[in-house]
Symmetry: C2
Subunit: 478 residues, 2 copies
């Protein structure tokens, strides 16, 4: 059991700033009081004590308030990604069997019709019914559920429990350090673990979040230059934007600014060199939805002596490589209190670990000093601007088109996004690349729509007829 | 389960300094290697995997090495206090039914004869037998056992488990902050929780310990003035010595020095004022052996707005007061992952908690903002003519007198009133009993004014320098 984080934080440091957004700010006590009021409204709607709610909203203070309220009400929150297509959202809502869908009014149009939808405006108008808010939380309670695709292409709902989140925040603190004056610049989406984990750190550390609905290179650079923030989470493409902006105005990071935490795939060495010129300390990290954020992080001091490494595990975490005899490269396995204990929905019977170890599907090795190098992401994972894209998911959509016989998808290098998806298609009847793209746009989040479409006579396959996605790239070269 | 802290720390930051002592230092990797060698020797002596060993040694690096080795070997360590009489040590050794007594050669004479004694010199000469050191530790494993007297007067062996210690270190970090450059000045005995908890923090944070066998006012002041350390644990009397030294040489604390953690009873307000003049940030804390160090800590920023308070609980801890109806003062109850799950020996059947709460026997209250005030340790309560008198309140007044260096108060039997307070005073400058009484009359209700005043050379104190009020009465008899 743990004390109710929101109540405890409001008790311990009521007057510290929890969130700052544009020129407004909210203390922990203010957010606590607002979340109690909202929790009483949720109670009127019978959404308390283990009920499951889906949430769709932009990364603004009303979302944070609602997250606080749902935690207080002990609802399991399915955090929906606003970039997904209607069909993708419908799948997650159905799979999670949610009791309600709480949605910011301005995002209503993104959802398919559903009787369970409760727009924020309706929630706000609901009367309050007072009840006893839990003083303690069960370690195993699933605070959040986030969908992530695996090799099958079917997104799995991953539970992240109270102890998953708290141990992630604790391990991060032991590694990066914490100070009363910390302020974390949050421009990553809250519906992703990269964003939600900042909310958790804020509660456990009593730390301010400087929140932006979307990344803004000019304003964010100024925060770093002025030292109004001390830490920030980024993916490589955002880091590049920041670097370009700071270089163009010829300003360096304020000494108070401590760390840029860079996740969602490798950071090009060139960026690291440019960051060093600007006094920006970049800590590269390896984490995923199943591990409630960071598993391993590379200290800034090691960035140039271990180029390309994702560092060593955080204190309570363990990493091992399942390599064949006499080989050092193999699948990356992870153990620790931050690893999800279960999936929900159609995958709920599938265990998340084997003998305590999460099998990531990612391939890597540990060097002689124990630094992790991620050689290849799981099963041809494409990482585009920090978003994970699973080829199988796009292939599943393509194969639903009546004119398409076979489809294969792989990632190709891209200057800005790191990678973008490319589709290889064997047709039944003739069609154009434009037909393919339009069909994908109707069924997939924008970032998943293939940027290149190639028609070929047959796909490269193994002896057992398995698609060889890595060979697709070679076709491209030819 | 948690990763073996010693192995994990040596893996993560092998080259960071773990201990510095006089002009020598040891990295985490050096201590790890030494502790593996010692663990192999313990294995030869069949002291591994749950065996119980008593340890008696001064606070020097060989003790730290041995603590590391016993943790690696998964021995339960009974930490003996070298200031105790032979008879008291014999009681603890018998009660704990230890398998061996590991003792620094220079402290052999303190122990009663016992066939189980193994002097360090003999341990060092033992051959090594290699075996598989545990990669993980069970949360519930009792790393340490410390004896503490309760209201009963019979010392109880308190188990402090892996999770007790880790959550204590984590909660402390969330409250005081941590930085890579931290160095904790340790002059408190390692056999007490105040000292051992510094060893735990060092392992979990990757933090340097600046170790002194004994407190040295001149040298310790210099460390604080030069900024070679950032944190320090003290009791009030040590704080006073530091303050006097720094005042006498007219030097202030270095800006890098962050916090003095003051435990083992209340800190007189006068000391806090003097500390503020020297830029010393004092965080007053309330903790005990049963809670593996701090339960509540007062932030420096609140020191003068909540004078006399021990602060608020640390993040994962809870405090409540068992007060009678319509009263706010009552017994202090504590809940959290840091609370001991069990005693050993003759008290092993006695539960440590009731409905999850540790009943401390201490008396206090929470003010309207939730700050804890420890009114007194219950066993020292003086009841005079039906009025409750708390010795600490009288001592605080006495210590504000410019001619008084140290003061202790206890109750003595009285024909009419049941008990009356008596004061024991160590002076800076000569003064009369009449001076003392007049000063008290100006500052205290009449019934609280000491009826007897005794001038003595030094106050009776425990191994951790805590005032032993019960021994004051014995002085009177002599």
């Amino acid at each position: 059991m743990q004390p109710n984080w929101i109540k405890q934080r409001a008790y311990l440091t009521p007057n510290r700033v929890a969130i700052s957004f544009h020129d407004q700010q909210w203390t922990f006590n203010e957010l606590y009081l607002q979340s109690v009021s909202l929790a009483y409204k949720l109670n009127t709607l019978h959404l308390t004590n283990g009920k499951r709610v889906a949430i769709l909203a932009p990364s603004t203070p009303p979302l944070i308030e609602l997250l606080y309220a749902c935690m207080q009400a002990q609802c399991e929150m399915v955090l929906l990604n606003g970039r997904l297509a209607k069909q993708e959202l419908a799948y997650q809502i159905a799979d999670a069997e949610v009791d309600a869908i709480l949605v910011a009014d301005e995002e209503l149009a993104k959802l398919p019709d559903d009787a369970r939808i409760i727009p924020f405006s309706k929630l706000y108008r609901t009367t309050e019914s007072e009840y006893d808010i839990a003083a303690q939380w069960d370690d195993d309670f699933a605070l959040t559920i986030m969908y992530t695709s695996g090799t099958t292409g079917f997104p799995k709902g991953v539970c992240q429990t109270v102890v998953n989140h708290s141990s992630s925040a604790i391990s991060s603190a032991l590694n990066l350090g914490i100070s009363e004056d910390d302020a974390w610049l949050c421009t990553v989406p809250i519906f992703h673990i990269s964003g939600f984990s900042i909310v958790v750190r804020s509660l456990l550390y009593g730390m301010k979040i400087r929140l932006y609905e979307k990344f803004d290179a000019k304003k964010c650079s100024q925060e770093i230059i002025n030292g109004t923030v001390t830490k920030m989470s980024v993916v490589a493409v955002i880091l590049e934007n920041l670097l370009s902006e700071m270089e163009s105005i010829g300003q360096k990071a304020h000494p108070r600014f401590s760390t840029i935490l860079a996740g969602g795939g490798p950071v090009p060495i060139d960026y690291l060199k440019r960051a060093a010129q600007l006094n920006l300390h970049v800590a590269q990290t390896y984490g995923m939805t199943e591990t409630a954020s960071q598993t391993a992080t590379l200290a800034n001091e090691d960035a140039f002596t271990h180029i390309g490494s994702a560092g060593k595990p955080l204190f309570f975490n363990e990493i091992k490589i399942a390599a064949k005899k006499d080989e050092s490269i193999g699948e990356i396995l992870i153990r620790g209190p931050h690893v999800t204990p279960r999936y929900i929905g159609q995958f709920k019977e599938k265990p998340t670990t084997i003998d305590g170890w999460l099998h990531t599907g990612d391939v890597g090795y540990l060097d002689e000093d124990g630094y992790l190098y991620v050689v290849d992401r799981r099963s041809d994972l494409i990482i585009s601007g920090g978003e994970n894209i699973y080829p199988a998911e796009i292939e599943n959509v393509l194969l639903a088109h009546p004119k398409i016989k076979e489809a294969g998808v792989c990632g190709i290098a891209h200057d800005i996004w790191g990678q973008v998806p490319a589709a290889f298609i064997v047709v039944k009847e003739s069609m154009t690349a434009q037909d393919v793209i339009e069909f994908c746009e109707q069924n997939l989040a924008n970032y998943k729509v293939p940027k290149y479409v190639h028609f070929i006579a047959s796909l490269p396959r193994s002896g057992s007829n398995k698609l060889l996605r890595r060979h697709l790239m070679k076709l491209l070269d030819e």
